[in-house]
């Protein structure tokens, strides 16, 4: 995770988070390295070319001089004279070079006519070129020396007299005396006296093949260094300008094609989020961007645009669904109230009747349920009681329950017996029940003046009876089949006699089948125990006790069946 979001950054910080700056730095670095490499290569190439040019010039001069000499002067006698004298010298005599006495060995040479002609010709060539010297010399392998024949250089310092010699490196000596005539004969060496010096040579034909005579031309290469300095300076300036220019152009290019589009997308995203927070809908921040870079950035912006559109559609869809859900929720809440209101739920229900006390409750597992109870006075002496359970739950069960409740009450109100009520209800419901739903019903009629209960059971739970002064116990009555699945069913009815103080407890399977987290059921045993533990309590208190016992038993497990109960206490006929 980054330390902070872009939103939390200041302007300066955002600037530092810049692709353009990074690109500029990278370009500068790259161009600088490239420039340096190019400089080194250029420098090498330049130096090489310069050296080649110098060597060419020097070699050319040696060749031209030799060509002229071939036509104008026969140098062989002079060369042989000098070399004869040189070779006749002993080791000690040779080493006296530099002293007056040494030059005595070669007296008279300078006075020779051919020497002076030769010197004049060499002088002309020397003066008309850029080389440092052009002269005639012999490479002597025996003494490993270059013996000067004629040197037109007048200077005390660099000029040589005939017969004077210079020590040679083995390499240079071999190169010159074994030259095959290919290319330009030259040798470059770093000398103490002249610095980097290139000596080019052209062999002079001498009949004595042991005498390797050359027209030689010296040129110093130190001038190249000077012009290199100049070159580097110009080149460096050019490289720097090119680098900066390249950096600026590339950075601009990057800014236009990379940074600005990305910033635009980021800006659009911020706007988008801000709009979302403020509840603005139908935004087109990403669609409006219109980035046409033809690369991943454009793809990115298109993806964002799609996302914006899809999100808007999704949200609209979601809003519709949420609205729908809310509507359904509201309607369900209304249905729940309506269902509860359909059942007699104001207690005491018949405050003016002293013959009995009745209490009932219904708690649906879902918003609306399929269980129901009902009780109503059929006439002044008869109380009808219903406990029923529709298969399934939720709205379908609730609708089915409503129909059943009305049918049962209608049939009872016209004075039919419980058996007839159940049979009539069964036929009425079967006539139009494609969903194969059914309902279990216990229906009884209490004769208030006598305490006689006439009842019939269509597949419902056993009722619980408590004789006056006795215990609550299951009354295993005769069962018929559930209502709503087979037309023409017959039901049996039976009679019970309630003495004053006796009670009748009715319930649906939600009570005994309430299940706890260990998958155990509450069961009729616990139900009876609870009721008997509150034997003296009023019907209302008895139901509350069972409800609490079920709730304690189930604990954290969700109640997944309706909880519906009814308790009646018969108090005896009205006195008077």
């Amino acid at each position: 995770m980054p330390e902070k979001s872009v939103r939390e950054m200041g302007e300066l910080e955002r600037l530092h988070h810049s692709l353009a700056a990074r690109v500029f730095h990278a370009v500068m670095m790259g161009a600088a390295i490239l420039g340096l490499v190019a400089l080194l290569i250029g420098l090498g190439a330049y130096a090489y070319a310069m050296a080649n040019q110098f060597i060419g010039e020097s070699f050319g001069l040696a060749r031209s001089t030799n060509a002229v000499l071939e036509k104008a002067l026969d140098v062989e006698p002079l060369v042989m004279e000098v070399m004869d004298r040189y070779r006749s010298l002993s080791e000690e005599e040779r080493n006296t070079m530099g002293e007056e006495s040494y030059n005595e060995f070669f007296s008279g040479i300078e006075e020779r006519e051919d020497y002076q002609t030769l010197r004049a010709i060499l002088k002309i060539f020397l003066d008309s070129s850029d080389v440092n010297d052009v002269y005639l010399g012999v490479y002597d392998p025996d003494t490993k020396a270059l013996v000067y024949i004629c040197d037109p250089d007048d200077s005390e310092e660099y000029g040589f007299l005939p017969g004077e010699w210079e020590e040679l490196e083995e390499r240079e000596l071999n190169k010159f005396i074994t030259w095959d005539g290919e290319g330009k004969l030259h040798d470059t060496s770093n000398t103490d006296a002249y610095g980097w010096m290139c000596t080019s040579g052209m062999p002079v034909a001498i009949s004595d093949k042991t005498v390797h005579c050359f027209v030689l031309s010296d040129i110093t290469l130190s001038e190249i260094a000077g012009s290199l300095k100049h070159f580097i300076l110009q080149y460096a300036v050019a490289i720097i300008i090119a680098t900066v220019l390249l950096g600026v152009i590339l950075t601009r290019h990057m800014k236009k094609n990379l940074v600005q589009p990305i910033n635009a997308i980021a800006g659009a995203a911020e706007q988008y989020v801000a709009d979302r927070k403020n509840g603005v809908e139908d935004t087109d921040h990403f669609t409006r961007l219109n980035i046409r870079t033809g690369d991943e950035i454009e793809n990115l912006s298109l993806v964002f645009a799609d996302m914006e559109k899809d999100l808007a559609e999704y949200e609209e869809h979601l809003t519709t669904i949420t609205a729908e859900k809310e509507r359904i929720g509201t309607e369900l809440a209304l249905a729940t109230r309506l269902q509860a209101d359909m059942l007699p739920n104001i207690f005491p229900a018949f405050p003016e009747r002293v013959e009995f006390d009745i209490f009932a409750m219904m708690e649906p597992a879902k918003e609306v349920g399929g269980d129901f109870y009902d009780f109503f006075l059929i006439d002044d002496d008869h109380l009808g009681m219903v406990m029923a359970d529709v298969s399934g739950k939720g709205v379908p069960a609730a609708l089915f329950m409503m129909a059943t409740k009305i049918i049962l009450a209608n049939l009872a109100m016209v004075g039919r017996s419980p058996k007839e009520v159940l049979e009539g209800a069964n036929n009425a419901i079967c006539a139009n029940n494609r969903e194969e739903m059914f309902v279990t019903v216990w229906f009884g009629i209490l004769e208030l003046s006598t305490g006689k209960v006439t009842a019939a059971n269509a597949g419902h739970e056993y009722p619980v009876l408590k004789p006056a002064g006795g215990n609550y116990e299951l009354y295993k009555d005769k069962h018929g089949f559930v209502i709503g699945s087979m037309e023409g069913l017959k039901y049996q009815q039976y009679e019970l006699l309630l003495t004053p103080g006796a009670r009748l407890f009715l319930y649906t399977d939600g009570v005994p089948e309430a299940t706890n987290a260990e998958n155990q059921m509450f069961g009729t045993e616990r139900m009876l125990e609870t009721l008997n533990a509150h034997a003296g309590a009023s019907p209302e208190e008895a139901l509350q006790a069972v409800r609490k016992a079920v709730s304690d038993f189930v604990g954290g497990a969700p109640q997944f069946d309706d909880l519906t109960m009814l308790c009646l206490e018969y108090k005896g006929p009205e006195k008077g």
Binding site: G392, K393, E436, E461, S485, E513, P558, F560
Partner: protein, 104 residues
């Protein structure tokens, strides 16, 4: 929601005889599952058998599915219920299902 509230439905078809073994709880939550399973597979069945040995509980919603199966089968073959344990038998008795089901 408890995780162990589930129903395992195992079907074993042998020609036109289908044996359906139910394990767990057949209640409001699992009954639609069984209803869906049966709806598509009863067309060619002449003999339907439910094995309820390991059925822990059956609610009215479950009874409804059995009733629908019974109605479908009585028009073209037979249906029987086997392995009925005490708890399920009690529910069958209370609801009167013992009258309409063939219990073995």
């Amino acid at each position: 929601m408890k995780e162990d509230i589930v129903l395992t439905i195992h079907k074993d078809q042998d020609g036109d005889a289908l044996k359906v073994t139910l394990e767990g709880r057949l209640d409001t939550m699992t009954a639609p599952e069984l209803e869906k399973e049966l709806k598509g597979s009863l067309d060619d069945v002449r003999e339907l058998t439910f094995v309820l040995t390991d059925l822990e509980y059956i609610s009215s919603a479950g009874l409804r599915v059995l009733l629908m199966a019974q109605k479908t089968m009585s028009s073209k073959g037979s249906m029987k219920v086997t392995g009925v344990n005490d708890l399920v038998r009690e529910i069958f008795e209370v609801t009167g299902f013992t009258e309409i089901l063939t219990i073995e």
